[in-house]
Symmetry: C2
Subunit: 565 residues, 2 copies
Amino acid sequence: MEQLKPSPPNNPPLTPLTFLERAATIYSDIPSIIYNDTVFTWSQTHHRCLQLASSITSLGIRRGNVVSTVAPNIPAMYELHFAVPFTGAILNNINTRLDARIISNILIHSESKLVFVDCSARDLVLQALSLFPSKQRKPLLILIKDESFETFETIETIQTNENGSSSSTVDFISTYEDLIQKGDPNFQWIYPDSEWDPMLLNYTSGTTSSPKGVVHSHRGTFIVTIDSLIEWTVPKQPILLWTLPMFHANGWSFPWGIATVGGTNICVRKFDAEIVYSLIKKHHVTHMCGAPVVLNMLTNSPDNKPLEKTVKILTAGAPPPAAVLFRTESLGFTVSHGYGLTETGGLVVCCTWKEKWNMLPATERARLKSRQGVRTIGMTVVDVVDPSTGESVKRDGNTIGEVVMRGGCVMLGYLKDPEGTANCLKNGWFYTGDVGVMHEDGYLEIKDRSKDVIISGGENLSSVEVESVLYGHSAVNEAAVVAREDEFWGETPCAFVSLKNGLKEKDIPTEKDIVEYCRKNLPHYMVPKTVVFKDELPKTSTGKIQKFVLRQIAKDMGPIRKSRM
Amino acid sequence: MEQLKPSPPNNPPLTPLTFLERAATIYSDIPSIIYNDTVFTWSQTHHRCLQLASSITSLGIRRGNVVSTVAPNIPAMYELHFAVPFTGAILNNINTRLDARIISNILIHSESKLVFVDCSARDLVLQALSLFPSKQRKPLLILIKDESFETFETIETIQTNENGSSSSTVDFISTYEDLIQKGDPNFQWIYPDSEWDPMLLNYTSGTTSSPKGVVHSHRGTFIVTIDSLIEWTVPKQPILLWTLPMFHANGWSFPWGIATVGGTNICVRKFDAEIVYSLIKKHHVTHMCGAPVVLNMLTNSPDNKPLEKTVKILTAGAPPPAAVLFRTESLGFTVSHGYGLTETGGLVVCCTWKEKWNMLPATERARLKSRQGVRTIGMTVVDVVDPSTGESVKRDGNTIGEVVMRGGCVMLGYLKDPEGTANCLKNGWFYTGDVGVMHEDGYLEIKDRSKDVIISGGENLSSVEVESVLYGHSAVNEAAVVAREDEFWGETPCAFVSLKNGLKEKDIPTEKDIVEYCRKNLPHYMVPKTVVFKDELPKTSTGKIQKFVLRQIAKDMGPIRKSRM
C-alpha cells in the first residue's frame, strides 16, 4: 500500500474554475446571464471569460497578483469570478458602499495591480486613488460602462478627478468591453500549481473598524461551492436572482455553483421589493440569497402578494427573527437558514429541515428555523467550546460558548497579518468570535457576536434574544439592541427601533409601550432600559445592521445614572 | 501570500466517513435501512457502526489492514462501509459470484486479516480457505446470520467444512450481531492520517482472467461521493432500492452518498423483476442503480405495469441499447446514463440531459441518451486520444481513440502491481482501455472495450453498434457480439442472441432472418457472419455479459473458411 502515492492522473488541483468549460459543453445555448436586455449563453460566457483573461494577462498580470473589482451584481462582476483566477491572479472584490479612505487602504494593503470599476463607482475609486501617498504605485483602472445606468458618462469625459489631479495618473486604460473584444477566445487559462494556491481575497465588511484580508484557496472554494449546492439541493438549471452582492463573500460561492448546474444568473444593479417581485415574475426565478433584512423588505413591501410559484431563499448573516421568517414563508417563499463567515467562504452550517417539523405550530417552526443548524459536508467539525477550558459546552441549548470549527472551507488566513491569523487559527480550530449554544439535538444556535453580548449585573445576556422579542411587536419594522453603560448594572440593553410605515396614530408605540411589551415577554434583566426610535437603522451594504454605529450613539448618550428599576 | 499554508483548521483530511455522524444528528429517527422486517434509524446505524468498529479493533485490526466482505446487499454490508474504515482498515468487498479459487487468490493477494461472510457464502468461503497453501496464514471469519435466508444453519452446526478439514482452522470466531452487541458505541473512530490513505480495495470483476486490486483513497471516495450526488441531483431523504451490488465498485459510492442526504436504503438479498416492482410500490422507492441488464429485466417482465410515481434509474457498465432505454422510460422510469470503471470509484462521465432534447422523436432521444456524456465535476479532463500520437481525436463522432481521464476520482493504483499501475497511470493520464469517440457537442460515446473492437478486413468495427441493431429486433431479448476468426477477413462478427419468452412459432427468427435484418440496418462489413441462439447469455454478478466466455465459444468453433459473402 505504501507504494501508492498521489500522481498527476489522480491529483490535479481541485478548483471550481473547471466548471465553466463543462457548463459551456453541456448548457451551451442555455442563458447564463440575463441583465435588462442583455442575455448571454454559457457558450458566450465561456468565450468572454477566456477573452477577458487573455487581455488581463496581456496587461502584465501574473500568477499571484491581486486584481480588484468595485461593482454591483452586473454581468461583468459574474465574468470576473472566472476571468481573474483564469490568469492565475487573485480576485479581490471590494464592497461598493465603503468610503474612499477604506478603499484606498484596501488597494494599498492588497497591492492590487488592476481594478475593474463599475461606472457608478468611478468617482469613488478615483477619489480613493487620490488618497494614495505620492510615491505609492497605483493600480491600472478598467471602466465597466453600462448604458442602462442613468448617470453614465463616457470615458472621454474623464479628464480630471474630483481632487483636480491630472488625468494621466488616474486614467482608465480601457473599457471592459474593449478588453473582451481584444482577447483571444482560445486562451489557455493558468491552472493553479497547487490547490492551496490563493484564489480569493475578501476584506471583512465594515462592521469592525479594521478590515482584514481573508484569503481563500482554490481547494477551499471548490469545497464550499459543491457543499452549498448539496446543502441547498440546487437542481439543474435553476434561475438565481442575485439579491446577495457578489462582493459579499463572493455571493456565498454561487457564481461557481450556478455554472456547475447550468443555471441562469439574473443580474440586478440595485434592488428594492418592487424590482425583486417583478423580476421573480418575469424570469420565473427559483432561487435567491440574502441577509434577513431582504426577507424583511419583501414582507413589508406593498407589493408582497403571495407568489405564484415557490421561490427558495437562502438566508444568513444575522440570526433572523422568528416573526420575519414566519411572515416570509406565508408569502410562498421557502426559507433555508444557514451560517458562515467571510473566513469560511460561504455557508458552512445549515438548519437542515426535518419533515416532522412541518407538523408543529407555526411559531415553533419559525423558532426551529431561526437556529443555525448543523455543519455542511465540507466541514469536519463545528462545536461550541468554553473559551477558558477549550472543552465542548453542554448540549443543553443554554450554556454559552465560542463557536469553533475545522474543515475544508476555512480560509488560508489573513493577508500580511500573521498575528491575526494565529489568533483565530490555533489549537486545530478556527475560532469564529461568535457566541452560541449547542442544542440537545446537535443544532447550533448563534447567540451573538462575542462583542454583542451584554453583561448586565454580571448576567450575560444576548442582544439577539431581546431583538427577537422586539420583532414580535406588531408595530416594529426593525430592531437592534446594544449595550449602554449603566452606573449600577454595568451595562443595560439599549434598543434601537424603526416602526412600520402607515401605522395609525393610536398604534404608534411610545418608549414606555415598548418597555411594557418587553417586560411581558422577557426576564426583567433583559428588558431594555433605553428605547430609541429611528426612521431607519444604519446598515452595511449586505443589509447587516451596523451595530458599531449604534454602539457609538449609545456611548454618546453617556451612562444611565439611576437605573435601579 | 507565501506565508499562508494549509494548517489543521483548514486541512483535515477529506473523507466521507464524517457523513454518518452528521446523518445521525440531522436524520436521527429517519429510517436508514429497511430489510424485510428489519428497520434501523440513522441514530441506530451510527451507534451500530461505532460498536462494530470497536469490536473489529479489539480483534487486533489496525490502520492499513485489509478487511474483506463476501455478502449481498444486506444491512451488514451497508454498515461495513463505515465500520471497517472507522478502524483505519481498508474495506475489500468480494464479488459473491466468484468461485472459491478466485476468492482464495484475492484473500491471499490482499493479505486480508478478517472476512465478513454472509450465511449464503459460508461454504464458498470455507472452500476458498481450504485452497490456501498449508503455511499461508488464514484470515479470521465472522458469520453474518440471516433468519430470513432459507438455507440458514446456525453457527453451532459448523463443525467441518466440505473438504473435511478440522473446524479449528476455519471456524467462525463470532457472529456479526455478537460483535456489534459487544462493541462500544462511544468508540472514537480512527481518522485518516492523510486524505490519501487507502480506504478501499476492489478487485476488478471477472470479465478478465486476472483480477487486479484497485485501491482508492479517502479523498477520492469523498470526491466521487459528492460528485454523484450533484450529477444525479439527489434530493434530501431519497429512497434507494439497492439493485446494484455494493460489492460492485461500492455501489458507485452511494453507501456514503445516501448518508449525506439522509436517505433510506432498501436492502434486498436477491432480486428479480417481481421483487423490484413490489418493493418500489411498498417503500415508495425514488432511486435505483443498475447495469442495463436491469433495465432489460424490468421491461421484459410480465409485472411491468407503468409506475404510479417516477423512479430515477442510474445505469452504466455497458452502453445500453437505445431500444432498451426507450422501453424503460415508457414505463415511467427516468433513466440517467453514465460511465465509470472500478478504477474511478463510481460514475465520472454522465449523459447530462438537455431540456431541448425532450422535443426530439423518441428514437433520437434514446440515441442521445445512450451516449456516455460529459465528465462530472470531480474530474478535471476526460478526452479521447489517438493511442499512437497521444493527441485528441477529432470531435466528429466518428474518429475512434482511447478514452483517457484525469481527476480526483481516479484510483491510487493497483495493489502490489507497479507495472500494471504504471501501464495505465502515465503521461498525466489514466488510460481506461476503453475505445470511444468524441461528438461535436463534447459528449463522449464509448464504442467498446479495446478488446471488443472487431477488425474485419482492416476495418475497425464496434461490436456495440451491431448489438444495438440486434436489440432493435422485435424477437430479441439480449444480444452480444464478439470477433470470430475468419480466414478471409481476419475477423468477422459473431452474434450470440437470446430470444424473448412466449414468442409465437411464426415469430421465432432463424439465423438467416437475423442476418437479413442486420443487412437492412448495418453496413455490410458489420453484419454478423455467425448467429448463435442461446437460452440465456452468460453474465457477471453485476449483469455484464461475460464476453470472454462467448469469445471462447467463438474460438472453439474454429475459423470461418469461405467467407467471401
